[in-house]
Amino acid sequence: MIDQDFQEIEKRIYKSKILVVDDSPLNRELIKSYLTSVGFHNIAFAENGRQALDIIFGDSPDFVILDIIMPEVDGFEVLEKVRKDRRFDNLPIFVQTALNQEERLKVFNCGATGLLMKPINQAELLSSLKAHLQTGVLIKDLKSYSQRVSKDLDLAKSMQIDLLPNAHTLDFIEKKMGILIHSEFVTSDELGGDLWGVEPISDSLLSVYVLDFSGHGIMAALNTFRLSSFLKQVLQTTKSPSACLEKINKYLFDNLPTGQFATMFLGIVDLEEGKISYASASAPPPFIVNHETLEVLSGNGEGFPLGIVENGGYEDREMAFNTGSRLFLYSDGMSESCDHKGNMFDDEGIQNFLESNISEKRFFESVMRDFRVRKGNAGTEDDLTVVSLKRNA
């Protein structure tokens, strides 16, 4: 679209609508013959300013050739009225003139795009005309292109949000399993490379994951779409977190180009045993926040990122998860953010946020507020995902 062939543009400018405003029939005929002889055929005529305004506001021409001295409404008034209307900011208006220096200045002050010296010379007229019509065509193309792309991106963004757990699922998990889930999902561009989800496996087992593809933007987002259906299937059919990661790793190893990969935390909450078993592929460490003992414990995020080596050798790890405990997960968009002095929070910084808010009633909101207040504008802009699972029963 953007590198459209020059010839194609050349062809399109001859379809442009040109308005010729002149009170002299002879002049109108002359200009008409200049235009038609090279192939312009969409030409309108006005004998005075009033007619000109009617045609401009009614038909929005692509180019106007305007005489100044006319009975009733003159060229100055036409210029002033048209330039007051923002819709015509980009309409090229060339004024025919034999006026003196002072009046030429006035013409420009009133909003003329350019001057055509009287008597009008065909070559001069055509070169100004073509240059402005080409620009007009390009601007129109760019506008429609960017409108189309931004519409597509909006749609893709809502599709990406649809990949995340919906309110109905979260409500079901809260009522059936007594687990209250909070989350935050912010993409740095229109689309992001993060994904998170929860899948109930039985009445007492719940799987939860946070995944982060390398890079961000459209390319990373495409990977989240690619993986999401495969992920659902693996989570429902595989018993241990490490075995799940192994399968996802193999899938990505076979499907991703070298240099692209994902990090992932995958946990299975076991309400009967009061524990979380989990495996990690280079994800930030999971935190267990115990609101009764007021302790924050860090898990272990070590493991090969997904899609790099054929066999990841992932390990199953465990943490206690009793009533009153909370699992806190985040993507590196949080830990790699920097404070106002440019110092990275790191995982220790996140742990500090959790510890200092541990007694807050609205814990999740407080932590996120703290994070936003302390975060400066420096550092890498990355996608941000934060998920918290609080066990109430």
Partner: protein
């Protein structure tokens, strides 16, 4: 980030300085292809002494280097990482991966 190439015999040392992020993709590709394809080179050492930060794209770039090394039978190693950089390379098992060459 600045990249410096120092050749000595069959070895080339890529010294990196600054923040190693997605912005360095172009110059990284250029430096790597120059280093790996020179005649007689059998080992590439990436020196992280002066690297303050790496993002996930940097890990991706290291993996691309690793693959090129494997194709051209050139061994690749990562050395002298510090602080956050070292932690990330360790967390993602990159140090382990690159020591197996």
């Amino acid at each position: 980030m600045d990249i410096n190439l120092n050749y000595s015999g069959s070895q080339v040392i890529l010294s990196l300085k600054g923040r190693f992020t997605f912005k360095d993709y172009e110059q990284w590709r250029k430096a790597v292809s120059e280093a790996v394809s020179r005649d007689g080179i059998t080992s590439v050492v990436v020196d992280f002494s002066d690297v303050e930060f790496i993002d996930s794209a940097a890990i991706g770039m290291l993996l691309v280097l690793r693959e090129e090394g494997q194709e051209k039978k050139v061994s690749i190693s990562i050395e002298n990482s510090q602080g956050q950089v070292h932690k990330i390379l360790e967390l993602s098992k990159m140090l382990e991966l690159f020591s197996k060459n």
